[in-house]
């Protein structure tokens, strides 16, 4: 194994460029979203864009620091970092103040940090470390359970913080496990469960059960040749029916009122443009009014005049849509897609399993964020408050994503040297 000659040797500059472009575009849109005549100075720290500038600066320092640190450190310290992070999540539960229903912030003076943003990174490292170990095979039940627990632990802790959005992000690790050998049935079953969930809310249960039973019977007639098939059909039919029955319970008893309402709005069961549907309605108005080419920089009225709530954080995509139009939204989406493709490409060129798994983790997390954040802004996903990576205002999330990506860049730079 050779030593690196320079910390920038074998750096994937394309990733760095993607990162810088996204962060810069994000900042421009934050500036536009909260712009007002009285505070034009880009570095005005009383304004979000001024502080975001600070976050960007510190993020670059963090990124550089990550590149400076020896790449072997990350793999070696994966578990300790994971354990420490879990510890911090526990501490947060105890000391955090209630901010809009969630208890997820650590406050040191005026400085606030959201550890759940770093939990994604830590979990990703731990999962990569565990799955890349010698003798670990995805087919083993023990592997599945251990990996599942590694993911579910932080998910549960974040859920306890009442930060449902961040908790849901951990679902993204399904893609990592799938890449590492988890049966595709899991994806299919997940998809099916999702469809059933929606159908159960839209269609009366009796009808739905009837249809499932009918489909099961048809399957039985077609595939009753082997006993195995019959058992599988029976299990699937029973499972589907079980989901249908439990949906009502889950929907009404487990979900909180606002979550329930948001889902109802999304499914069109509830029209409440002033209440639960306000965010999405205003968000759609903002994006829709942008037209093909947009209203122009600083010309968006929906976001500038606060019609869209959270316009610099969760709904930053509205500003893109309103001021830059379809051209802007398509550009940003394609930029993200290229970034994801690039990460997957990088993952597959690794000789190191650890780096490959880590890279898939990065891609999965970014994809999940993109899907939910943009999806909710255009009314295709329920309103789940998670940021658009690199774009949304916020120090913790920017730092978190920076760490996530730059560790990948560092790990990737060792692709020539490390075999495992």
């Amino acid at each position: 194994m050779r030593k690196q000659n320079s910390i920038f040797e074998n750096i994937d500059w394309l990733l760095v460029v993607f990162y810088l472009v996204l962060v810069l575009l994000g900042w421009i849109n934050i500036y536009a979203a909260v712009y007002n005549e009285e505070h034009k100075n880009m570095f005005d720290l009383t304004q979000s864009y001024g502080r975001q500038m600070l976050w960007i600066g510190t993020s670059l320092v963090i990124g550089l620091a990550i590149l400076v640190i020896d790449g072997k450190f990350y793999a070696a310290f994966s578990f300790p970092i994971y354990i420490v992070t879990m510890g911090i999540l526990l501490v947060v539960l105890v000391i955090a103040r209630d901010v809009q229903g969630a208890r997820s912030w650590i406050e040191i003076g005026s400085f606030k940090l959201q550890p759940s943003e770093f939990a994604k990174f830590a979990t990703n490292m731990a999962v990569a470390k565990y799955l890349s170990a010698l003798g670990i095979r995805m087919e083993d039940m023990k592997t599945k359970i251990t990996a599942g627990l590694l993911i579910l632990l932080p998910m549960a802790l974040v859920l306890l913080q009442n930060d449902t959005g961040s908790a849901l992000v951990f679902i993204a690790f399904i893609f990592v496990l799938y890449r590492e050998g988890l049966s595709q049935n899991v994806l299919i079953f997940g998809f099916l469960a999702g469809v059933l969930f929606i159908l159960a809310l839209m269609v009366p249960n009796t009808v739905l059960i009837g249809v499932i039973g009918g489909l099961g019977f048809v399957a039985y007639l077609l595939m009753r040749k082997t006993r195995n098939n019959i058992i599988v059909i029976l299990i699937i039919t029973a499972l589907c029916s079980g989901i249908v029955f439990s949906v009502d319970y889950a929907f009404n008893e487990i979900l909180q009122t606002h979550q329930r309402e948001r889902i109802e709005v999304l499914l069109g069961k509830r029209s409440d443009p002033k209440g639960a549907g306000y965010n999405v309605n205003q968000s759609l108005i903002a994006i829709g009014s942008g037209g093909f080419t947009g209203k122009g920089f600083l010309q968006g009225t929906q976001t500038k005049f606060d019609f869209v709530p959270e316009q610099s954080t969760d709904f930053i995509f509205c500003t893109v849509g309103e001021e830059w139009g379809f051209v802007g939204t398509a550009f940003v989406l394609i930029l993200f897609t290229l970034l994801l493709y690039r990460i997957v490409f990088i993952a597959e060129r690794q000789r190191s399993t650890y780096t490959r798994i880590y890279a898939y983790g990065v891609a999965s997390i970014l994809f999940f964020h993109l899907m939910i954040n943009v999806g909710m802004a255009i009314g295709l996903a329920p309103v789940i408050g998670i940021p658009l990576p690199f774009f949304s205002y916020g120090g913790s999330s920017l730092w978190g994503f920076t760490v996530l990506l730059f560790v990948l860049i560092k790990l990737d730079s060792y692709r020539m040297y490390i075999l495992r």
């Binding site: 799938y178 890449r179 009014s289 009225t301 929906q302 399993t353 255009i378």
Partner: protein, 637 residues
């Protein structure tokens, strides 16, 4: 190392790609295809704020304000923004009941939850002052300053007219107006609406989610600036007008005074009148109802709309036509009676007279004979032709047609055509002796006091008139909206007027209207006692003065009052004294006129309790000490 190959990678990238493609399709639909979001964004952020320009003020000829604008406040409400407010306090401050509050909120909400609608109209400045201090407590309410028309002299209601909110019909006809706008409905307010109203301005401002203004839209390029209405200078003399109204109190009648040398209307009175402030603002419709029900018809502008028999005024124009045609001369005299078949019209005893004396004594036979000499004159071939020519002469004096006063609702009056008589009597079956009463201003004639006064202007000017008008100046410039400088000549040449003026001078100096004399002024006048099928004769007097340099021509008509010399002549005389001398010396005469109570006894006020006590029925405009309704005073004699 376990590597399950590229299958999973393709699936993963496939999922990413599918999601992004779904998003792009959705974005394309939302942003490019569906346009309703743009409309919603516009509705969200743009507010159209109307700037109402101040309506022009009206001054009288001496610079006295007769119409101005008082600031009032409309209370507006945006139902969505109304939070929990202290309804009790709110109602107390506005002096409304809780039921009315709930009712108004309901109305506003049903109009729109997001948009402002008027909660309470025209709150006076005084009420507003107390309310304003508490306004911050009532979120969702704000005030829109408006103006209310005020007529400080409480005079000239018929001339000034009034303004009211536009109705749907008008909005459909004229796109300028919108719901809630005001428009002149009668009088000057109507005929000079365009000049008075100015032009409404609209500012487009952007607001944020809390409805706070965030500056003008696109730098204000779509804004229109409000243009204030122009001030008007009326020809009226407010003092003369008020004085005339006072003299006509408790009488039904009309006065029109015109400056002959310009056609400027100095006073136009129709009695009974009303306080113009009664038809302003919130109390308007209520008061309008009461005024409409009043049997003495205070809303009726007799000066331009009544049809009176012209009486003796027509003796003058009749004689003028005959003089011009050479049918009579200044020395012509007739027998002291006018015989039609078995009937004969006689006059009161007076010496045998020529034209001047006939005017002085108002000799009926003389003018009937004159009329017959004209109409049946052989030189015209037939009585039809004679009458047709006579009628043309009369019409050249502004009779039987609209003379074009710059006021709405002028009526043209009536002077029958040849065809009318052909139809009535049959062609060839009538001649002068059939219709002789026209010669003394009786019969099928209708003329309004404006036309009478205009005839006197013509006589004063010896042959021409300027279109009578009430507005002389618009803004800083002379009124050019109508052809006011043009002389309208009659068919009678100037020299023929001298003898008529002589006769009229004699009327005042030694004839029927001696009561009209004052000082050493040379006044030319003519009394009339117009027969009236509906009751007692109308008392009529027309005059101008001074003879050499006529400053005022006046026509006074007092309904059912008997002889012209009893009521009309003194009133005309007092008004001329007021105008020319500025003070009244004949206090006894004045006193007698003021005390005169000539309202018809058959006034059904007793049967109709609604009209019994008008004063208490009429809702007085608030905050106005001098809101007397004296002119409506209906006390029992």
């Amino acid at each position: 190392m376990y590597n399950p190959g590229s299958n999973q990678r393709i699936v993963f990238l496939g999922i990413i790609t599918s999601v992004v493609i779904i998003f792009l399709i959705r974005l394309f639909y939302v942003q490019v295809i569906n346009e309703s979001y743009s409309v919603s964004a516009t509705n969200n952020v743009l507010r159209y704020i109307t700037d109402y320009p101040a309506r022009g003020m009206i001054y009288d000829r001496k610079g006295k304000i007769v119409a101005f604008n008082q600031a009032v406040y409309d209370l507006m409400v945006i139902p969505k923004q109304v939070t929990e407010i202290d309804t009790l306090e709110f109602c107390r401050l506005l002096d409304i009941s809780k039921e009315s509050f709930i009712d108004k909120m309901k109305k506003a909400t049903s109009f729109s939850r997001m948009k402002a609608s008027t909660f309470e109209k025209q709150i006076s400045a005084e009420s507003f002052a107390t309310f304003q201090e508490k306004l911050y407590k009532f979120q969702g309410f704000y005030v829109q300053p408006r103006t209310l028309r005020k007529y400080p002299n409480n005079t000239a209601a018929h001339v000034l007219g009034y303004i009211g909110e536009v109705n749907d019909e008008l909005i459909a006809k004229n796109p300028y107006y919108r719901i809630g706008d005001y428009i002149g409905i009668s009088g000057i307010e109507q005929s000079y609406e365009l000049e008075l109203r100015g032009r409404r301005g609209v500012r487009i401002v952007m607001v944020d989610v809390f409805n706070r203004e965030k500056g003008s839209y696109k730098g204000g390029i779509y804004d229109t600036i409000a243009i204030a209405g122009q001030n008007l200078v009326a020809t009226l003399d407010a003092d003369l007008q008020s004085y005339g109204e006072l003299l006509l109190q408790n009488k039904i009648g009309s006065v029109v005074a015109i400056e002959p040398q310009t056609g400027e209307i100095l006073a136009m009175i129709s009695s009974p009148s009303y306080d113009p402030n009664l038809l302003v603002g919130r109390v308007r419709s209520k008061n309008y109802g009461y005024l409409l029900k009043d049997e003495n018809k205070p809303l009726f502008n007799r000066a331009m709309q009544a049809y009176y028999p012209p009486g003796s005024t027509f003796k003058l124009t009749n004689a003028l036509a005959a003089l011009q045609e050479g049918i009579i001369g200044s020395n012509t005299s007739y027998a002291h009676s006018f015989v039609v078949g078995s009937k004969s019209i006689k006059c009161h005893p007076h010496p045998a007279i020529a034209l001047e004396g006939a005017i002085q004594y108002s000799c009926n036979p003389y003018f009937c004979n004159t009329f017959r000499s004209f109409v049946d004159n052989r030189k015209y071939g037939s009585s039809e032709n004679g009458y047709r020519l006579w009628r043309e002469y009369q019409m050249s004096f502004g009779v039987g047609k609209k003379i074009g006063v710059d006021m709405p609702h002028e009526l043209k009056g009536l002077i029958p055509t040849v065809e009318f008589y052909d139809k009535y009597y049959g062609k060839g079956h009538w001649k002068a002796s059939t219709i002789y009463s026209l010669g003394i201003g009786q019969g099928e004639l209708g003329i309004n006091p404006m036309q009478m006064a205009n005839i006197i202007c013509i006589i004063a000017n010896k042959g021409y008139y300027y279109t009578p008008h009430v507005i002389k100046q618009i803004g800083k410039y002379p009124n050019t909206t109508r052809n006011l400088g043009e002389r309208h000549y009659t068919k009678v040449s100037a020299e023929n007027f001298n003898i008529i003026q002589d006769g009229m001078q004699r009327v005042v100096e030694a004839g029927t209207a001696r009561v009209a004399r004052f000082d050493s002024l040379v006044i030319c006048g003519k009394t009339g006692t117009a027969q009236n099928p509906h009751g007692k004769d109308h008392s009529l007097f027309v005059a101008f003065a001074p003879r050499d340099n006529p400053k005022i021509a006046i026509a006074v008509m007092v309904e059912n009052a008997g002889f012209g010399a009893t009521w009309a002549a003194p009133i005309a005389s007092l008004m001329m004294e007021k105008y020319l001398k500025d003070s009244i010396k004949r206090h006894d005469l004045e006193e007698r006129m003021l005390k005169g109570y000539l309202l018809p006894l058959q006034n059904k006020s007793l049967e109709n309790p609604g009209l019994k006590v008008k004063d208490s029925n009429l809702v007085k405009p608030k905050n106005k000490k001098d809101s007397s309704i004296a002119l409506l005073n209906n006390k029992k004699k």
